[in-house]
């Protein structure tokens, strides 16, 4: 089976994006019975959607795991839900939607179709701080998650979709200005972030194969 791991390019003040790095690092790797295709999306509503939708139709992945950077996050956040809103920007094409629907005909929200609680438990067992998050925001991360869930629903594809927010890397935090309470932003080494994403993919595959067996 094929697994998409998507990340983002750097944008705005962020000249480095750990999510894109992880997508590049995992691209071509084999995890369990699956081969990973890493996609690095531009932080553009319009182009990210096109690239993603085209890739889904072309490759029909069994799993899509989006990854995105959440500045000031202390740990890995496995997203529960994507909502039908674009409210944030400007993106790199200078588009700045305010309270716009992603699809005026789409439902208000989709829940992730990956085992979010198991993933969080597994990450913590492996010493990686993680929580379930109830908001993926209203910018590109939520957008990509919604677009993927909406597209596979419309097309009736048998594809599991989820999204994970990751903190700054340690290297990245070390280059930042002091912000909150005189400290640098919370962070995690890139290796630990990558390990976390790999564990999440394993867990999603494991659940699919387990279901298949019975």
């Amino acid at each position: 089976m094929e697994v998409f791991v998507t990340g983002f390019e750097p944008w705005g003040e962020e000249d480095y994006n750990p999510s894109g790095e992880v997508a590049k690092r995992l691209d071509g790797q084999v995890i369990g019975s699956a081969r990973v295709r890493g996609l690095v999306l531009p932080v553009s509503y319009k182009r990210a959607k096109e690239i993603l939708i085209n890739a889904i139709d072309a490759h029909r992945p069994r799993i899509i795991l989006g990854v995105g950077l959440a500045p000031n996050t202390t740990c890995i956040r496995v997203e529960r839900v994507a909502i039908n809103v674009m409210d944030g920007g400007p993106d790199v094409d200078d588009y700045k939607p305010v309270d716009e629907p992603i699809d005026p005909n789409g439902p208000a929200a989709y829940f992730a179709t990956i085992p979010i609680r198991r993933i969080v438990e597994k990450l913590k067992e492996n010493g990686i701080p993680a929580v379930i998050s109830n908001s993926a925001g209203t910018f590109l991360c939520n957008f990509v998650m919604y677009c993927a869930l909406h597209h596979v629903a419309l097309k009736n594809y048998d594809t599991r979709v989820g999204f994970i927010h990751v903190p700054y890397t340690s290297q990245q935090s070390a280059r930042k200005q002091k912000t909150f309470m005189g400290m640098l932003p919370p962070s995690m080494p890139l290796e630990l972030i990558e390990k976390g994403i790999r564990i999440a993919v394993e867990e999603i595959i494991g659940e699919l194969e387990h279901k298949h067996e019975h």
Copy 2:
């Protein structure tokens, strides 16, 4: 030369203390021209002081670098100053001082005698988020820092003294309850914390040797 690296035992709600782990890991190691003696102190005002003072008098270290856990800290904090106050507890002996002086005849404060700014710069160059901190609190960490600085001042020992606060380890954060804004507390892998303390020791030694040469 001999370098003391002190840490603390677990205490209260904290059943694991990365500062004590680092002291144990570095104990006996050679860093540059120095040999490290790792001391794991109890979280007891009375006993921590006795053990520390006796060890200083017995071994006359050239450098004393205290390390302590600061819950909810996002990065390594190199302390600038220790103040003549005990205000926090209870410690493990159930002692809970309120606004008491450490030594009624001591000065209000001592500045660290290690190159705090260089250490922070060096840590950041190595991808480890770090800041100068202007308060070591009023519990055991500040106490140990003040006691060491006060003792070497009274005895006129030629000893450099500093203190570094470290965050929870990633493993430790992963075992915590969600706290701030639905997230787990910020953290750093133990290996990165240990690397940071080692870099700090190298930097202090480097400065001493550099001065000696000229």
Copy 3:
């Protein structure tokens, strides 16, 4: 027209609940052309729903504005969306759902049907810090918001529904233990919270009447 303002009773560690206080204070008051009915709901999934649904059916309010306490919030948060999940507790009846749907047949989410952006702008013009929030959590606040939106949708009632999270009151914060970074939790005087809720109600009424006129 009738306006429901709902709040909650104290629960768990919180022996005071500003949301319930505001509901009591506004009960019976006239705001513009509307009369307020203040409802103080128990922090019980089962009973809060029953009381709320029965009151809606009995009184057919034109507007339902839920209010709830969000500990550690710095400002007023006007919620955008309620999701079909119960994940938090235990409530006062010792019920502790994990990732359960509120209604297995309900949609994943409903958006608030009040003018959230206008309310936030109006609050800020009046010197009250406020933001749009994209998550009402997964405990009673989200539950009440979802239940109200779901019920009026099923019954096809012409009722506007929204939810606002409020911080601790100043009095309440002053009674707390120090928590985050040695500080007390953020807060707002009860009078300012009440003023904020009143402004929100005025704004919702104003939009309804404005639409009616044209």
Copy 4:
């Protein structure tokens, strides 16, 4: 007796400074047996010191209570200690000291000579969230506190000196951009801040008069 309440002018990104507003509001008022002189200092190391020292020598106040803005603070912070360091800027004269002593011949620190714990308790009894703080930073607030304590020590004046940090006002927070975790910065209404400073002054006077009586 005369009481100085000092505040600061707006500076940098802060076009409004609640500390200066409070100093202006209290100027000329009578609190208990004391008359308040409100001083609004420029955010300039050089000029703030000159103005303050000259005013102290000219008026010989019995009490000096400095007030300053601490962005992102959730509550009133009564400072315990001022340290002999300037490390922050640039100030409005473009001076940006790094790790410089305020006075190379001065002690490392002075403790506040006002009853910090009583003030905090009294504030909390009055519903105003407050804590003792162990760092006034290393910018103008710490500087003014150190300068005042150092000057009255050198001149042997019988003057009590303290410093209090205050949060943004609610109005001010409402004009800010969202920052931490999608929320506006924590705040307190100006009236509550002013009330807090007045209570602090009353408490300092009360302690002085009480001591006098016995």
